[in-house]
Symmetry: C2
Amino acid sequence: MLVEDITCRPIGVIRSPHTEKKDTPIQPVFAKGVAGQVEVLPQYEEGLRDIEGFSHIYLLYAFDRADGTRLSVIPYLGETERGVFATRAPCRPNALGMSLVRLLRREGTVLDIEDVDVLDGTPLLDIKPYIGRYDSRDDARSGWQEDVDDDTARELGRRGFKRGG
Amino acid sequence: MLVEDITCRPIGVIRSPHTEKKDTPIQPVFAKGVAGQVEVLPQYEEGLRDIEGFSHIYLLYAFDRADGTRLSVIPYLGETERGVFATRAPCRPNALGMSLVRLLRREGTVLDIEDVDVLDGTPLLDIKPYIGRYDSRDDARSGWQEDVDDDTARELGRRGFKRGG
């Protein structure tokens, strides 16, 4: 089986108010209204054309401050150890993060975004548009996550980040 | 701004009936019922624990047969040139692909999957669980994709792959 390495070069950087891992919400849905920016390198500006038509975009990025790889983790929303691929924890064999954020506007190579759960200064690798008919599944079963009720998830998922109580 | 490269090492390979790019559906929703497998390298088996609880998973992979980078593309579903970040085309600055597929079962390090729009032999970089409350957006606006009606999208999106007419 192939094991050839893949090299990615950051195309920009993600800006957010989150500077401490422990205070960073664990998912965009727990970071509602938190503003940030995507600063794309000038040489990629042409690739951003038409992106402003989309209300939501996926950011793919490097978990550049992850603490190495662990194959079993206790997720933030649970008390039981799970395989890392059954979680969204950063300590993955390839430290690739994915966040679905709201796109408010584009000015040149800067995207104003909301619902940001990413650490300030995170290296951006790719942007993909969220397309309702491709990306939503009504019939999904969400494994161990279904044992965590929505209120508990929201409370724990925000972590240290509290706005207005 | 940082430009330090990120190195990813494949954690496995994706198996599918798709061997020709031109006959490969452009999205999982246009590959309904198409069976495939994810073969994860044995050293990562521990990370797969509990994944079988999820009905859908994201595969992150390398577009290893993409024809270089283009910042403007005419999408398969359109006739107008768009910025590549407003599309899901493979010719991205970082050739990272993402597919949301149905997970049928796990046997050790092999995942049986469905709705596979990925070329056979594609290097797998990460697996993330699809979690309804994180990953679905009811209020999304889908830019130029909204100009393509669902029937046209389905017909074009399957490309050469036809099963039973």
